[in-house]
């Protein structure tokens, strides 16, 4: 009969331990109020996050300015939609035509060129559609159309916008074709899908470089001027949305085009991939890129 109290003591201990565990978990503060004014929402594309560039730049910026950056990595389309609603402070996007519309609508101010890299077409090593050696990108797309699997982002991202522009130049409407599949996912995941299904896809070079070791999808087409991938920083117009952190947005955009940051961008990825992922362009004109 002596066993019983022992057992209940043990039970009590387990309960106590559990209680402490829960209390400890809850007690830790989740957000400090003092940070509020310093919060900055950066809406950007998946490529800047998936390549790891922002992991390098954001801590630099935070240290320098004391802002706390909330990076929301979505497609350029969604990033601009957030800006249009005043739900982001600053954008780093790569969808020039949509950006122009955004600026015309007075949703943004101070659109500044930050950097570029380029898009490439990747696909199965055997290149069943034979796009290698095509003269122009639309020509390559024409060869793929109809007979071979093409994996599209389908998410209104900058890459998707570029892809649609190329289809248009090729005079083809790919929507609804069985050979044309849309993932609705980020670039990294779309590349994985293309690798698994042995399809062709359009990707920015940066994301492809950072993933290529596992992919088995070589570059089959590159270098066409239409394939330029240009990133701009845009501050969301605080005249339209008073809650926007205008000072923070300006600080971030200034930081992105500053000499120090541009230098980091220039060498980012060289140690790991042997070539840079992005080319800094602050102060240049879009027309001069790629020359």
């Amino acid at each position: 009969m002596k066993l019983k109290p022992l057992k209940s003591v043990f039970r009590q201990r387990v309960f106590l331990a559990l209680l402490f565990l829960i209390a400890g978990l809850v007690a830790v503060p989740t957000a400090s109020a003092a940070q509020k004014q310093k919060n900055l929402i950066l809406a950007t594309t998946t490529s800047t996050q998936d390549t790891g560039l922002l992991d390098k730049l954001i801590p630099m910026f935070e240290k320098k300015t004391g802002y706390f950056v909330k990076t929301i990595a979505v497609g350029s389309g969604q990033a601009m939609a957030m800006g249009q609603k005043g739900e982001a402070d600053v954008l780093l996007v790569h969808s020039p035509d949509a950006e122009k519309k955004f600026m015309e609508g007075q949703y943004g101010i101070n659109r500044r060129l930050v950097m570029h890299n380029d898009f490439v077409i990747v696909g199965p090593p055997a290149d069943p559609a034979g796009i290698k050696g095509s003269k122009t990108t639309p020509e390559a797309f024409k060869k793929i159309a109809g007979g071979f699997l093409f994996i599209s982002r389908g998410d209104n991202s900058g890459t998707h916008a570029k892809e649609k522009a190329i289809w248009k130049a090729a005079g083809i409407n790919p929507e609804g074709g069985k050979w044309y599949q849309q993932t609705g996912l980020g670039m990294g995941q779309t590349l994985n899908v293309a690798a698994e299904k042995k399809g062709y896809t359009l990707t920015d070079r940066g994301t492809w470089l950072s993933l290529q070791k596992n992919l088995g999808l070589p570059i089959l087409m590159q270098g066409d001027p239409i394939l330029l991938n240009i990133y701009h920083a845009i501050e969301v117009n605080h005249a339209k949305w008073p809650k926007v952190n205008a000072a923070g947005a300006k600080a971030f955009a200034d930081f992105m085009v500053s000499a120090q940051t541009q230098k980091v961008i220039k060498t980012f990825g060289v140690d790991k991939y042997g070539s840079p992922l992005f080319f800094p362009d602050a102060g240049k004109r879009v027309e001069d890129l790629g020359k």
Binding site: V26, I41, Q49, I72, G86, G186, S210, L215, W241
Partner: protein
Amino acid sequence: MELILQGFLKAIELLVSLDPEVLGITLLSLRVSGTATLISLFLGISTGTAVALTRFPGRKFVVSLINTGMGLPPVVVGLFVTIFLWRNGPFGFLEILYTPMAIILAQAVIATPIVTGITLAAMQNLPPNLRLQILALGATRMQMLWLLIREARLPLLAAVMAGFGGVISEVGASIMVGGNIKGYSRVLTTATVMETGRGNFDTAIALSIILLFLAYMINYLLTRIQQRERPR
């Protein structure tokens, strides 16, 4: 197979070396989902008990709503919580979108109907005369409620497990309302999605293994408590 092995080794490496980032992500997951579960227990057990013990017009409708809520899709919750918490939305003044607080809120919304539903079922399964007997012995209303909850504690522990399991494994709402911000609102599930997108499959597998291990540990503890005292 090799990849899974690699991921497994990576998980051990990350755990043994106490990688600060992974540790932070793991603790945040526990904290967020633990708090959300606590909130849902408070709301769920009280609502579930109230609905189980009372009769009112439209009760069947309410019960069917609760049961539907048990399968509430996290992305739907995420979408609505996001819209409500937008700066320029109805609760924008709280300024909690893209914070751990927002994730707790969304997860509590997901877990509450689960806890409510299981509580409701557990309470209705108690012998119908038990209530009468307790009252006949001179218990006050509060004492009766407390005794009933005590009597249903084993299925209620199941509610805790189901609620916690539902939210710690959830990704759709967490990524939408939390934003997967590094060192701030990144939890195990959203980090797994991101590492998969980056092609770091070994890290992604490692994070999944940590998540599974965590879920197992918590449930093991709760199961021990639950099974300690079988109803006679």
